[in-house]
């Protein structure tokens, strides 16, 4: 039990309370507040790191990561459509969720590495921002074909102006401009409280996860299997990419986790407006009901142990 990070215990507390039908809930204004703080904090941290090194050095890595974001939904779609026999819109929408990333999962992996003092490339939030979107574009093309392209301007709005993306990339820019000294005075709120805020977030995520279980029961065995197996495949790809790019062990774990995670902030909103005929409860049930808890409880320690073994042999 002690192998679990204490913040994950808050997730479990939330899940147990939800299963027992407690009336516990974070007020929605507080859940929004907590989410905003996490997004800003992650962005700020990445931005500060960016201000320390030339962007040009990162360009190749960034391109490779975007390529991964385009590839993952293309891998997921045929599985969902041909094997899972889901409707085209549903398959495309779920593929988009799994091609994109979960900020909450990112926060947990960072907390996990932090409490084990494992270093990682601190500019990783750049990858989080970059991975938010490509999968959305792929998902829409999969659902609608290129004919959807006359909507691109409208779609770009939905993608870039959703509050999740604005806060994450806004934090990134502010951190970049202000630099390490500039953000220091706001550090007590955004950095010192980070783990406590994450604990509250995970408490609510536990409750939300449980509330998705109903949708899961209806969606059947295939989706549950997909929601466990696809992350493992994606993590392998992400880990391999991290290795190819020469990332540290910590950075490789983060990239594997990002690949394995499924979005539940930017993508659901964009898909709802762009592919409305996709049933949102399928993708949320899979992403929130299975993949999120799987990643934070089983996945991250697993990716860690695999990467550790490879890096050990590597050196």
């Amino acid at each position: 039990m002690s192998s679990l990070d204490p913040v994950v215990l808050f997730f479990i507390l939330g899940a147990l309370a939800g299963l027992a039908r407690s009336d516990l809930r974070l007020p929605s204004a507080i859940y929004e507040f907590v989410t905003m703080l996490l997004l800003l904090a992650i962005g700020l941290k990445g931005g500060v790191e960016l201000s320390r090194q030339p962007l040009s050095e990162l360009a190749p890595q960034m391109l490779a990561v975007v390529a991964m974001g385009l590839l993952l939904p293309l891998l997921a779609y045929p599985v969902l459509y041909y094997i899972g026999r889901l409707q085209r819109a549903d398959a495309a929408s779920i593929a988009a969720h799994y091609g994109s990333v979960s900020v909450g999962t990112y926060a947990v992996v960072v907390a996990y590495l932090g409490s084990r003092s494992i270093v990682y490339e601190e500019y990783m939030p750049v990858f989080v921002v970059l991975l938010e979107m490509p999968a959305i574009v792929v998902g829409i093309v999969l659902a609608r074909g290129w004919a959807a392209s006359h909507q691109w301007r409208h779609l770009a709005r939905e993608m870039f102006l959703g509050k999740g993306v604005v806060l994450l990339s806004g934090g990134l820019l502010i951190g970049w401009i202000a630099g390490v000294d500039g953000v220091q005075p706001i550090g007590p709120l955004f950095f010192d409280l980070f783990k406590g805020i994450l604990a509250l977030f995970l408490l609510e995520m536990g409750l939300i996860t449980v509330s998705q279980l109903g949708g899961l029961r209806r969606s059947g065995v295939f989706l549950v299997t997909f929601a466990v197996v696809f992350p493992l495949v994606a993590a392998t790809l992400g880990g391999a990419l991290g290795w190819l790019l020469g990332l540290s062990a910590g950075g490789t774990i983060v990239l594997a986790t990002l690949a394995a995670s499924a979005s539940y902030i930017a993508v659901p909103a964009a898909m709802r407006m762009s592919v409305p005929e996709a049933n949102p409860s399928l993708s949320l049930a899979a992403a929130l009901g299975v993949t999120f808890p799987f990643n934070i409880i089983v996945g991250i320690p697993l990716y860690h142990s695999v990467v550790a073994r490879i890096h050990a042999t590597g050196t």
Binding site: L26, S28, Y31, E32, T35, E204, I208, S211, G214, G215, Y264, I265, P268, A269, R272, M273, P276, E277, S281, L284
Partner: protein, 100 residues
């Protein structure tokens, strides 16, 4: 007291539609509207949220008969198929007929 009869159109739908529905209403001639946050359950399951993902809004519009029908028809045609939405219309008396 002098009153006139108007229609009250109440729309309950998923929160993400708020700005879209309001833009539609204004384009189709509604001169005002009132929005409250809500949660609920219907054909598309329970909706009670956080981070807006599955909350509802309740939009009320006081207007004349013709506008109410036009709005209702438009909303039905554009949103009923794919979104969580219901609407209903009732009679209300108002004081300033010119306003609505």
């Amino acid at each position: 007291m002098q009153t006139e009869t108007r229609k009250l159109l109440t729309v309950i739908c998923e929160a993400q539609l708020e700005s879209h529905v309001i833009a539609d209403l204004e384009r189709l001639g509604a001169r005002g509207y009132t929005v409250t946050d809500a949660r609920g359950k219907g054909g598309r399951g329970v909706r009670n949220a956080g981070w807006d993902r599955s909350a509802n809004v309740r939009i009320e519009i006081v207007c004349d008969d013709k506008t109410a029908n036009a709005l209702a028809a438009h909303l039905r045609d554009h949103y009923y198929d794919h979104y969580a939405m219901i609407l209903f219309i009732s009679d209300v008396e108002v004081l300033r007929a010119g306003k609505f």
